[in-house]
């Protein structure tokens, strides 16, 4: 469903993302890991079409992000690091606006909005103005915005940041449900970025680890932890290896 082919992003001389390629199959939940500043957000922005890559391309649900950007964007639900909310709108009017610009046909809009409200547990605050909501609710509105048009691909940038433990558990459950839905509901492919390792262990089946803009690990979680190693150790080893190499050579 998602195919990143040699994605690179350079800002002048600074290389933010360097030749990152990976594939995500239908219904997979992939954890996109890396220390802060590793290039996670930039990679996700390239996949969603917000930032054009300097090199490489990506194919989302069969649509090239350069060849058919509109169709590629239609297939994506995206929750950026800060939820893109209009503080003066009510939850319902915001979601129906998003449904409109995401090409949900007029006849199905009301239902799409109420389904998103229900899935994200927003029924109680549906008529509340977004600016008056707590951080947890805002994050959920952000998630509802990403799923309102029932996209094939979900790209979530740190979906649980700033939430309390209970809310984190709810969001994780929701993401798991989106990838492995009950009968009659469509299946979503999910990439989520995080630097919270237990989160990956809780919901992801595969891990892509990037460090300094490069992909350093791309493997199923079960395989990585097979030898009794924890994700913690792998993360620490991969993201400090450069330092160790440099010390060894000097």
């Amino acid at each position: 469903m998602i195919e990143a082919k040699g994605l690179s992003k350079r800002y002048g001389d600074v290389v933010a993302v360097d030749d990152v390629s990976f594939e995500v199959g239908k219904g997979e939940v992939v954890g996109f890991l890396g220390p802060n500043g590793a290039g996670k957000t930039t990679t996700m922005r390239m996949l969603t079409g917000f930032v054009p890559p300097t090199d490489g391309t990506a194919v989302i649900a069969g649509h090239d992000i350069f060849g058919d950007p509109i169709a590629a964007r239609r297939a994506v639900g995206y929750l950026p690091e800060t939820p893109p909310l209009y503080p003066e709108m009510t939850v319902v009017s915001y979601l129906s606006y998003v449904a409109t610009i995401k090409d949900v046909p007029r006849s199905g809009r009301r239902e799409a909005v109420s389904r998103a409200l229900e899935r994200c547990g927003l029924g109680r605050v549906r008529h509340q103005v977004i600016g008056t909501l707590s951080k947890g609710f805002r994050q959920r509105v952000g998630l509802a915005q990403a799923i309102v048009h029932d996209p094939a691909v979900l790209i979530l940038d740190e979906p649980t940041v700033g939430l309390d433990p209970l809310q984190i558990r709810e969001i994780r459950t929701l993401i798991r449900e989106l990838a492995a839905p009950e009968q009659g509901e469509s299946q979503h492919t999910v990439i989520l970025s995080t630097h919270i390792l237990p989160e990956v262990e809780a919901i992801c089946r595969r891990v892509v680890l990037i460090h300094d803009g490069r992909k350093v690990v791309d493997a199923p979680l079960a395989e990585l932890t097979a030898g009794g190693r924890t994700l913690d150790e792998i993360f620490a080893r991969e993201t400090t290896r450069d330092l160790a190499d440099e010390e060894a050579s000097s």
């Binding site: 800002y11 917000f50 169709a71 994506v76 950026p80 893109p84 009017s93 610009i101």
Partner: protein, 265 residues
């Protein structure tokens, strides 16, 4: 292009849940009333004076369009320069501070959907201001002496069209300024600076510093003022309409380029 109206609708609703739209409408309505009253009083005094001097030739020349409605339109166009920046300042700047630009630009919208949607919101708001302006000439049609020197419909409507076209041009300029910055204050001030430059161009031309007469003509042509003046006279020349169309198109194209350039950086 299907989403132009969705973008415009959201922008307008955003304006009307904030106090800005109401403040601007109220201020504009009050100022329009004040200016209309002042212009009417001045008009009456002018006529009285001419009668005292028995200047019948000049009295015969006086009419409501050139000596009352026209100056009123001019002062309204001036008010637009001060008020439109307050409306358009948030059009792109607030999307950036809310982070909603990330939503807009990752949605299946074209860049023109976004830019034209914002402009359409400006067009509708300016049209509302135009309705307020229209109320005052309408009073003259109801109560003024409709014989010699009375209001002429053609001139009045053409002048009103001119005021609205000036407003739309200012809105396009304001939207461009808003696309350049994250700060609404900066967008407001930048719009004001651009509009002041546009308005003083004919004065610069008249100061004689511009040198060649072609340069003077160009400066004058670039300003909205001479084009509004033509329309006020009831001259509906295509070259004035083309001027407004070109100005609006130019600033919208620059807006699109400005929004796109941020993504490519």
């Amino acid at each position: 292009m299907r989403h132009v109206t969705s973008v415009a609708g959201r922008e307008l609703r955003g304006l009307f849940v904030s106090p800005v739209a109401y403040a601007v409408l109220a201020l504009f309505a009050v100022l329009a009333g004040v200016f209309f009253t002042l212009t009417t009083v001045a008009f009456n005094e002018g006529i009285l004076r001419l009668q005292q001097f028995q200047a019948f030739d000049q009295l015969a020349q006086i009419n409501l369009n050139d000596h009352l409605i026209g100056p009123f339109y001019d002062s309204m166009a001036f008010m637009l320069m001060l008020l439109i920046p307050a409306i358009t300042m948030g059009f792109f700047a607030s999307e950036k501070t809310n982070g909603t630009d990330e939503l807009l630009l990752t949605s299946p919208l074209t860049m023109w959907d976004v830019v034209l949607g914002k402009f359409l919101a400006g067009v509708v708001f300016v049209a509302l201001l135009g309705l307020i302006v229209a109320a005052y000439p309408a009073i003259l049609f109801l109560y003024a002496d409709q014989t010699a020197g009375g209001p002429e419909l053609g001139k009045t409507v053409a002048g009103l069209l001119g005021v609205v076209l000036v407003g739309w041009t200012y809105a396009a300029i304001g939207i461009f300024a808003s696309s350049l910055t994250r700060s609404q204050v900066v967008a407001f001030l930048l719009t004001l600076v651009l509009l002041v430059i546009l308005i003083i161009l004919p004065f610069v031309a008249d100061m004689g510093v511009a040198g060649a007469s072609e340069a003077r003509e160009l400066l004058r042509y670039l300003s909205t003022e001479p084009h509004l003046a033509e329309l006020r006279k009831g001259v509906l020349d295509s070259k004035d309409i083309v001027y407004f169309a070109v100005m609006i198109a130019a600033f919208l194209v620059m807006t699109k380029a400005a929004v796109e350039s941020v993504r490519w950086r």
